[in-house]
């Protein structure tokens, strides 16, 4: 289990004492925490902010996830604060295990997201947010040996999301499209940039159906750059998320991560738990 800095934790608790009975949104609509700590699906940051806060309240959430594929696994834990459903602050720690080499790569990510306009459920236009993820790779040797230029980088993304009530035969349909400016190789775990940098804007898409108030079934796709010329693949997953109440969610996904560090056919499972205050 990753350790979250106590100071940050203290800050969140202090914020929380202000007003933390945030239960303003409809169950499941804020989504979960993605692997880089932002509110979203499993791999894509969404326009909605983490947690159930609305304009009048603050919410705090935490999540831990594990992805296990043939030759790798990724553990990640994150904390989010949602301030008045306007600003989301997040912090995530990732631990990437390269099983064949018995090697661990570690990265920390500080994120922020601001809701520009729109409301996921109630406006006719989609909810649109602008976000950043500032990443610092702690273990840079492998990244540099593979040709990465830097051990730190910042992704900037713009995301649009909409929940259409009753859209699919009475079932609610959610979609999200995110455009991300990034130089991150495998999220940044293999550093940033490289000799084969080309186009830097990557597209990410999610689509989900709420089967009932507590269950969401969806798919995600995340385009990724191949700066290191290792055949870095786009990611995709199919997920089911369970929201028993406004304090807990559990997400299970089947993921296809393609080729990682030139090792092909990395498919496996993703399990994530999120707690909401």
């Amino acid at each position: 289990m990753n350790k979250i800095p106590p100071l940050l934790y203290g800050c969140f608790l202090a914020l929380c004492s202000a007003n933390c009975s945030a239960e303003g949104k409809i169950l499941a609509t804020p989504g979960v925490s993605q692997i880089e700590g932002s509110g979203g699906g499993g791999i894509v940051p969404w326009a909605q902010l983490a947690g159930y806060a609305t304009e009048e309240s603050i919410s705090v959430s935490a999540a831990c996830s594990r992805v296990t594929v043939q030759d790798f696994s990724l553990d990640s834990c994150a904390l989010q604060a949602n301030l008045y459903d306007k600003i989301e602050l997040s912090y995530a720690k990732q631990n990437f295990e390269v099983t064949p080499l018995k090697l661990n790569l570690k990265q920390n990510i500080i994120g922020a997201k601001i809701n520009l306009f729109g409301d996921l459920v109630y406006s006719t236009i989609p909810q649109v947010s602008l976000g950043i993820q500032s990443k610092k790779l702690k273990t840079s040797d492998v990244a540099f040996s593979l040709g990465a230029k830097k051990d730190a980088g910042t992704d900037v993304y713009i995301a649009a999301s909409k929940l259409h009530l009753g859209f699919i035969n009475g079932y609610n349909w959610l979609w999200n499209v995110t455009a991300r400016h990034t130089k991150s190789n495998e999220l940044g775990l293999l550093g940033f940039g490289g000799a084969h940098e080309k186009k830097k804007i990557q597209l990410e898409v999610s689509s989900a159906i709420l089967l009932n108030r507590h269950l969401a079934l969806g798919v995600e796709f995340r385009q990724k750059p191949d700066n290191l010329n290792l055949g870095e693949d786009h990611w995709k997953d199919i997920f089911i998320a369970w929201f028993p109440n406004k304090h807990l969610s559990v997400t299970l996904a089947y993921v296809d991560l393609g080729s990682i560090a030139a090792i092909d056919k990395q498919t496996g499972w993703y399990l994530s738990t999120m707690w909401y205050l």
Binding site: E56, Y171, W173, V205, S207, R213
Partner: protein, 160 residues
């Protein structure tokens, strides 16, 4: 690169398929095809699908009971005439669900003017309404269809 594009295509197809569940809606397109040579006979209204007047009365009775026990929104209703509220809301929802009623009462803006309802209170009320529909055994898809018609009203209700 080629496999990347192929994979991307596959994912896009999968997503389109998911969104296309809408196209294969049994109570949507198929019914309207069957009925198309019988042009005047349209599919049942949302009001009929939810169970008509008995269901609506049931929802509203439940809602009034729930509001009466709720700390957050009760204050907004404390001054209301319950009988009038009930009658007006019945006609309003019946009209909204394409039932055989014509709502001629005050606009949502006029009713909520000066109440300073915030988003938390509004969303909380939506949840109470869902609770009332649950207690009336309204199915999840029908609840969503009714909520879809109520959702656009939020801008006329909050912070007036």
């Amino acid at each position: 690169m080629k496999t990347g594009i192929a994979n991307m295509k596959k994912s896009i197809i999968l997503m389109l398929l998911m969104s296309c569940l809408a196209c294969s809606s049994p109570s949507g397109n198929i019914d309207s095809h069957i009925n198309s040579h019988n042009s005047e006979q349209t599919q049942p209204s949302l009001y009929e699908k939810m169970g008509g007047k008995p269901a609506l009365d049931n929802i509203i009775d439940n809602l009034i009971n729930i509001i009466g026990q709720d700390d957050v929104v009760f204050a907004h209703f404390a001054q209301s005439n319950v009988t009038r509220f009930k009658d007006q809301l019945t006609v309003f929802l019946c009209h909204l669900a394409d039932g055989p009623c014509q709502y001629k009462g005050d606009s949502m803006e006029d009713i909520h003017q000066g109440m300073y309802i915030n988003k938390n209170e509004f969303n909380h009320f939506v949840e109470l309404f869902i609770e009332a529909m649950d207690a009336a055994d309204i199915s999840y898809p029908i609840q969503n269809l009714l909520l879809a018609r109520l959702a656009p009203l939020r801008k006329t209700i909050i912070k007036m």
